[in-house]
């Protein structure tokens, strides 16, 4: 229990720092940034209380907001992703989730990709809708969501695969 808590605390801080120091300043093609801090929400232990997940996601989003001066958009998107996570888990992992026996380090890569893709799309859609906050900017919202999602999904998968292989 203690080591799990320690692991997730370190992951929380590391992802936050990498996000605000490096990933938010990439600006690929002028506006495309990956938001990799959501890996924390993806990999949060499943058996843990959902209320804890909601609260920590809110805290993480709020800290990112504080660093990036973006009001509360990251907090809102993170909390939304944390709330919809069980549905995503059920659709992408099916039976495994019902038995509460998912280990992210040794699941099928296909299910993992589905899970991360849908999660990232939901998170980014909420994020950019709130950031632009204007219905006439719907095309801009969709464009930003699409391109940033591609970037985020690739980076998330790479990071998850890289670090889970190490632990074996």
């Amino acid at each position: 229990m203690n080591s799990v808590f320690g692991l997730h605390s370190i992951r929380f801080i590391a992802l936050l720092l990498v996000q605000v120091v490096i990933c938010s300043h990439i600006n690929f093609l002028g506006y495309i940034n990956p938001y990799i801090y959501i890996i924390f929400i993806f990999l949060f232990p499943i058996r843990e209380n959902r209320l804890v997940l909601l609260l920590t996601s809110f805290l993480l989003g709020m800290l990112v907001d504080m660093f990036l001066d973006s009001g509360g958009v990251h907090a809102a998107a993170s909390v939304f992703l944390a709330y919809t996570r069980p549905i995503l888990l059920k659709t992408s992992f099916g039976m495994l989730y019902e038995h509460q026996s998912i280990k992210f380090s040794n699941t099928e890569i296909g299910s993992l990709i589905t899970y991360i893709t849908f999660g990232t799309l939901i998170h980014h859609l909420v994020l950019f809708s709130l950031e632009i906050f204007n219905i006439s900017g719907i095309l801009l919202i969709l464009k930003k969501t699409l391109f940033s999602s591609i970037f985020t999904i690739i980076l998330c998968l790479l990071i998850i695969i890289l670090f889970s292989r190490n632990k074996k």
Partner: protein, 273 residues
């Protein structure tokens, strides 16, 4: 009573989600209005500390460029100085009558964003360096923004690349004035609205600050006119302004304090009463 408690316990996840989401949404909406004191901003010792460490590392990569900008600015200042000496032709001007109106301080940029719709910079000067809200921020080339939130050692700057930003600006050749806004699209262009159609404006004309507000002195460069568009009403132009500043690459900035600001604001508020 029992039922209410049961209801809360049954739906506790949804209720917590709803509460947190509402808080986040409230903060988002609040951040869309100008100059509300926000709790969530990067002018505090935690974010400032992290940015100062990361800046101390990647500051080295821009040193050469920074040097070029400085020597270019030195050249311009030297030119202005020599021309001034020649024109005064040995007549000493008594400077005791010419009061100092603007005070300039330098600061380093710790964080600069330009890809969002509401962009802010974080700089390493704050209340302890006598920086206050609504001071102007410029570089050697042109304007950057206005000081927004301040803490002890750090401050955030409301960039001109921000939908909330509205800065008084004018054509250099005439005195037709308008307000400078941003449409959130390109970090190299801003829009100058409400220029009268009587103004003789051409593509390539220079736009500078108007000096109507107590924030910026008159005549600081902003950019050049890139294209001209007539408003729907047909009475005013909206000009696309190509900025002199490369807003994506800002290292050192100057903060301008208008020493007469309190007096000007006092006078304006007494007029409004």
């Amino acid at each position: 009573m029992q039922q209410i408690i049961n209801f809360v316990i049954r739906n506790k996840t949804f209720l917590l989600f709803f509460l947190l989401f509402s808080i986040a949404l409230a903060l988002t909406i609040q951040s869309h209005s100008y100059h509300r004191s926000k709790f969530i901003n990067s002018a505090n010792s935690l974010t400032g500390g992290v940015y100062s460490i990361s800046n101390s590392v990647d500051g080295y990569f821009g040193l050469k460029k920074e040097n070029e900008i400085l020597s270019e600015e030195n050249k311009q200042l030297k030119e202005a100085l020599f021309n001034l000496k020649n024109s005064s032709n040995g007549v000493t001007v008594d400077s005791s009558f010419a009061g100092k109106v603007f005070k300039v301080r330098t600061a380093e940029v710790y964080k600069n964003s330009y890809s969002l719709t509401n962009n802010y910079l974080t700089i390493n000067k704050g209340k302890n360096d006598s920086i206050q809200q609504d001071f102007g921020v410029i570089t050697s080339k042109g304007i950057v923004g206005i000081i927004d939130n301040i803490s002890g050692n750090y401050a955030t700057v409301l960039s001109i690349l921000n939908k909330k930003s509205k800065i008084n600006a004018k054509l250099k050749s005439t005195t037709h004035k308008g307000s400078l806004t941003w449409d959130g699209k390109s970090p190299h262009f801003t829009q100058l609205e409400d220029i009268s159609t009587f103004a003789p404006v051409k593509v390539g004309d220079t736009i500078e600050t108007g000096g109507e507000s107590a924030i910026f002195p008159k005549g600081i460069g902003i950019g050049t006119v890139d294209s001209i568009e007539k408003d729907i009403s047909g009475d005013t132009y909206t000009l696309q302004v190509k900025l002199f500043n490369d807003m994506t690459n800002i290292g050192t900035i100057y903060i301008i304090e208008n020493l007469d600001r309190a007096e000007i604001l006092d006078l304006e508020s007494s007029n409004n009463e």
